[in-house]
């Protein structure tokens, strides 16, 4: 239910162009900005990078979940990016990251932000779901993995 309210076809990009962490993050923020969900992109970028500096959000199995709290969003927002070639995201297992799920939540607003992240994580924990995402050629195929 929350996924349905948060994701839409404009917030999915197959074949990200960036070749490094910062570029990927900027590209994902660009998706949110284009969909009218983000205020100042530079401020949001600084917030995401600040969180990345504390601890990288590249997890395992090619998945990265960049997330942060920022005053540039009014509600919880999310977007998905895929880069089959992979990018070095300083992940825990040292492997390149291919699936990027970014979530931004407003500062000082109580809400199920991390629960949303956990909900997405539960889906992409399955290898089958990750394979489907990497093999997807259309936005709709990506969304269908999340039951949308």
């Amino acid at each position: 239910m929350r996924l349905k309210n948060t994701l839409n076809p404009n917030l999915v990009k197959i074949g990200l162009e960036g070749t490094g962490k910062e570029e990927i993050i900027r590209e994902l923020l660009g998706l949110l900005k284009a969909d009218g969900k983000l205020g100042d992109i530079e401020k949001a970028f600084a917030d995401v990078m600040e969180r990345e500096a504390k601890m990288s959000t590249g997890i395992q199995h090619g998945v990265a979940i960049p997330h942060a709290k920022t005053s540039e969003v009014k509600e919880l927002v999310a977007c998905i990016g895929i880069k089959k070639e992979g990018v070095d995201f300083a992940s825990l297992d040292g492997k390149p990251s291919e699936l990027f799920i970014m979530t931004l939540s407003p500062k000082d607003r109580i809400g199920p932000h991390v629960q949303f992240l956990a909900e997405i994580s539960r889906i992409i924990k399955k290898e089958e779901a990750r394979t489907q995402l990497l093999e997807a050629t259309t936005v709709q195929e990506v969304l269908s993995v999340f039951g949308l």
Partner: protein
């Protein structure tokens, strides 16, 4: 009007000061529950003892009200009723609803056992020992039988609450059976009043009237229980949109007051409505937060209720029937102990559990007084027998708390089976070890703050290790600080298997914040200078 209000606030002031002080002495030095101290305080300062002494031109502070069965002013009695509503609303909040429902069948057996045996013994002993009572159907015998039946849920709830036993199988069974007892007693009272009026005035017994009163009471009780359980989760979910916990607490208490009033309209005691409201809300994630808020306000009102209960005791009326009253009190005592204890053996409790339930059902209170009061007002019983009822209440109320505390000592369960719920089996625990307790405490503090940001409600739980319950709707987490080797300390979160991803992510984020904080602290260059400046400023001349 203004003079009556002035007297009321003076009375409340004296009640609060004396009952709080005596309650403190009882709990600190005599190792007794505070409630006993509050009852005794009421007896001491009430209209039958010190309260009737005139204070110069002001007159007595607690003048005896003679034109009513209640010896204190209507306004003081009203405030004390509010106290009982606070108490029962909070008791409902502290009861675990799933356990309550699971044990309600057993509680029905226990409740009925206690009512039937108590009524028969009370009625029988009055017929046998009172020369002017010629039949077991005589109004006097039947009223005294009914007097024996109602359990004071208030006193029991307070003791179970004070000793943290309200959630145990025995505690829940006692609470459920005591609620049911009040319902059965009120129904029984309507039957007795009907039969007694025919015995005294002649005519035929109107079973249809009696039946409709009984049906209305039972239907109200069942309907409120079912509706409350269904509506409560939607209600709290809707209320949370306002993002104000105080608002949820206060509106919930407003609902408790409304239901208490409706309960009285349906012919039941007000406390039943208050208890049902609390019970329905007990399943929600805000239950603990509401309870904490209610307790702090309740501390001002609840002692007034117990003190006023103590004020009801008329020592003079007891003199003429003291011997009978003593025997009657013992019989009433046995009626509940055996009437509730023996059936509980049949429904899965062991001997220890049966004893706990039997003693938990002993206290008598407000409903006993209501029954005796109606008997007195209708002329079915005289002042001496009213005194017997009061003494029964007194003996039970004084003897039961120490017995109940004694019965609940020791950690062993009084229930034969394990209480573990099936879903508790799929719980996992996620742990993080820290080098010192202080660091673990620091981390825990920021972790709890992150859970609150995520929309969770947290409450600390009294336990051997520092423990918090973190709850949101159906997600219930248990955070513990466990001491390890030397000074090391483990932060452990127990959660359902389906919530472990979320808990891990929360801990990761809290850890990221924490290490960032630690780096910032270690990068501070001038902390020695800051301290030195503070000390130097101490000696600066003005």
């Amino acid at each position: 009007m203004s003079e009556r209000m002035m007297v009321l606030v003076l009375q409340l002031g004296v009640i609060l000061i004396v009952s709080k002080f005596v309650g403190y002495v009882f709990s600190r030095y005599l190792r007794q529950p505070k409630v006993l101290g509050e009852l005794v305080a009421g007896m001491l300062i009430g209209p039958y003892l010190l309260g009737s002494i005139p204070l110069g031109s002001f007159g007595p502070l607690f003048p005896l009200i003679t034109d009513s069965t209640i010896p204190v002013s209507a306004e003081l009695y009203a405030i004390s009723t509010l106290g009982s509503i606070f108490l029962l609303f909070d008791s409902g909040l502290e009861t675990d609803l799933p356990t309550f429902l699971r044990f309600s069948g057993k509680a029905t057996v226990v409740g009925f056992g206690g009512v039937i045996l108590s009524f028969l013994l009370g009625d029988g002993i009055t017929y046998l020992l009172c020369s002017d009572v010629h039949s077991v159907l005589a109004p006097e015998a039947m009223f005294l039988g009914t007097v024996c039946t109602a359990t004071s849920i208030g006193i029991t709830a307070r003791i179970l609450g004070e000793t943290k036993k309200i959630g145990t199988p025995e505690g829940v069974t006692i609470m459920a059976a005591a609620v049911l007892d009040d319902v059965i007693s009120i129904v029984l009272l309507s039957v007795v009043v009907g039969v007694a009026s025919v015995e005294m005035n002649g005519g035929a017994i109107q079973w249809s009237v009696i039946g409709s009163v009984a049906v209305r009471a039972i239907a109200f009780w069942l309907a409120c229980m079912v509706a409350g359980i269904i509506i409560a989760p939607f209600y709290t979910k809707g209320m949370k949109r306002f993002h104000s916990l105080p608002l949820i607490s206060e509106i919930s208490f407003g609902i408790a007051l409304l239901l208490a009033g409706f309960s009285e309209m349906a012919g039941l005691a007000m406390i039943i409505g208050a208890y049902i409201t609390g019970l329905a809300l007990s399943q929600t994630d805000v239950a603990h937060s509401i309870s904490t808020r209610m307790q702090s306000v309740g501390e001002f009102f609840v002692p007034v209720f117990f003190a006023v209960m103590g004020m009801m005791v008329n020592f003079d009326a007891l003199k003429s029937v003291f011997g009978f009253a003593l025997i009657f009190s013992l019989i009433a005592f046995l009626g509940k102990l055996l009437g509730c204890g023996l059936p509980s053996l049949l429904v899965g409790f062991n001997l220890r559990g049966a004893l706990r339930i039997g003693t938990g059902m002993l206290p008598r209170g407000e409903v006993t007084l209501i029954v005796a009061g109606i008997g007195l007002a209708s002329g079915a019983i005289a002042h001496d027998m009213f005194g017997v009822a009061v003494m029964t209440m007194l003996v039970a109320s004084i003897a039961a708390p120490p017995l109940l505390i004694e019965a609940f000592k020791g950690g062993e369960s009084g229930y034969r089976k394990s209480l573990q719920r099936p879903e508790q089996k799929d719980r996992v625990s996620i742990e993080l070890e820290f080098p010192t307790t202080r660091i673990a405490e620091f981390f825990t503090e920021s972790l709890i703050a992150s859970f609150i940001q995520e929309g969770f409600f947290t409450s600390s739980i009294e336990s051997v290790d520092p423990t918090w319950q973190i709850r949101k709707e159906n997600t219930v987490l248990l955070l513990k600080l466990l001491k390890g080797k030397e000074d090391s300390c483990m932060v452990s979160i127990g959660c359902g298997a389906e919530d472990q991803d979320f808990v891990r992510l929360m801990m990761v984020d809290a850890m990221a914040d924490f290490s960032d904080f630690a780096q910032t602290v270690s990068s501070m260059k001038n902390e020695e200078m800051m301290s030195a400046k503070l000390l130097m400023q101490m000696f600066d001349e003005a």
